[in-house]
Symmetry: C2
Subunit: 168 residues, 2 copies
DNA sequence: TATTGTTATACTCTATAACTATA
DNA sequence: TATAGTTATAGAGTATAACAATA
């Protein structure tokens, strides 16, 4: 049945294409990385469309969420939690601060570190964003039962742990 | 049980961190986009490590596969099959051609188009890459039973179809 | 008019090295 | 010595606009 399902899937892809020629993707549709990549790109595309009028990207939503739930966190802690490099985080936070959504404050215990907080404007935006995210999440999970959706996330976590860990 | 599983997962993430403070990720671990992104990044990192000595990235493996299985295809057809923009494909193909792995030939039916083929060197490389890919795939799927792995891919395909389709 | 390949361009993501000021 | 934040930089992914040649 799995091989049969694969063929059916390939037929579906062909049918949705504008091309008249059938294109053989070989093993690609059976590879986890291929399926993961395509699904992730599709979901992010949907996310960007839903959040377009707020000019918020997935990584920004993640940062705002972590700062809101953990006020006073250091930049490095946010970076570790979300898998962002320290160097790349600076520009991301600069942007959120410039837009008046988040702010760097002094740390009580470490003069090198910044303590991060959401502004009132940032908290107000998050109340809106959570609703938008709910609509987005419901749409991309529309074809999945709640049980399947939870199972999918569980499988994805297993995959993440099986693969290689980053360096830093 | 799902809520319980989520908490256990968050504890696991904390334990693997170097930080002593527990960081609340809120709903993030329950979002498909978040889990998808993290899994995809981890899998690609593993892929890059496995293919490093061949200097092959996932998109290049996909292009070589499609050209090998469908000799004579036009650039636009490869682009549609793999979700690559025409403009971005030019540089990718330039590189493969410069390395002597693929080549642009004249199309018998359309003088605007290029017919794409693998060189003998490209075919020989693919014989090696398929073995490397098998090892890579086995590793990232090590924690999954064959049935779970197939089910995961099926769910990912559903997700892809539920999300928004691209413009072009 | 539409399509194919191409060039130019821009923005984001990912990554490394190196600097400064603190610890 | 090590860590926190920063700057500079580079490569890769993604995207749009516009052009010449051809359909």
């Amino acid at each position: 049945m799995p091989e049969k399902a694969r063929r059916a899937d390939q037929r579906a892809r062909r049918a949705s294409s504008l091309s008249s020629e059938p294109i053989d993707l070989g093993q690609l549709p059976d590879l986890l990385g291929y399926a993961l990549r395509r699904a992730q790109v599709a979901v992010f595309r949907d996310f960007l469309k839903c959040f377009a009028k707020f000019d918020i990207r997935p990584v920004q939503y993640g940062i705002l969420t972590v700062i809101e739930l953990n006020p006073g966190l250091k930049q490095q802690q946010v970076c570790r939690a979300l898998g962002i490099r320290r160097a790349n985080f600076v520009t991301l936070l600069d942007d959120l601060e410039r837009r008046g959504l988040a702010e760097r404050g002094p740390s009580a215990t470490d003069q090198r570190a910044n303590a991060l907080y959401l502004t009132e404007k940032g908290k107000a935006l998050m109340r809106q964003l959570r609703k938008v995210n709910k609509a987005h999440e419901d749409r991309i999970a529309a074809s999945l039962s709640p049980a399947k959706r939870r199972f999918l996330i569980q499988l994805l976590d297993q995959i993440e742990l099986s693969a290689e860990a980053p360096n830093e």
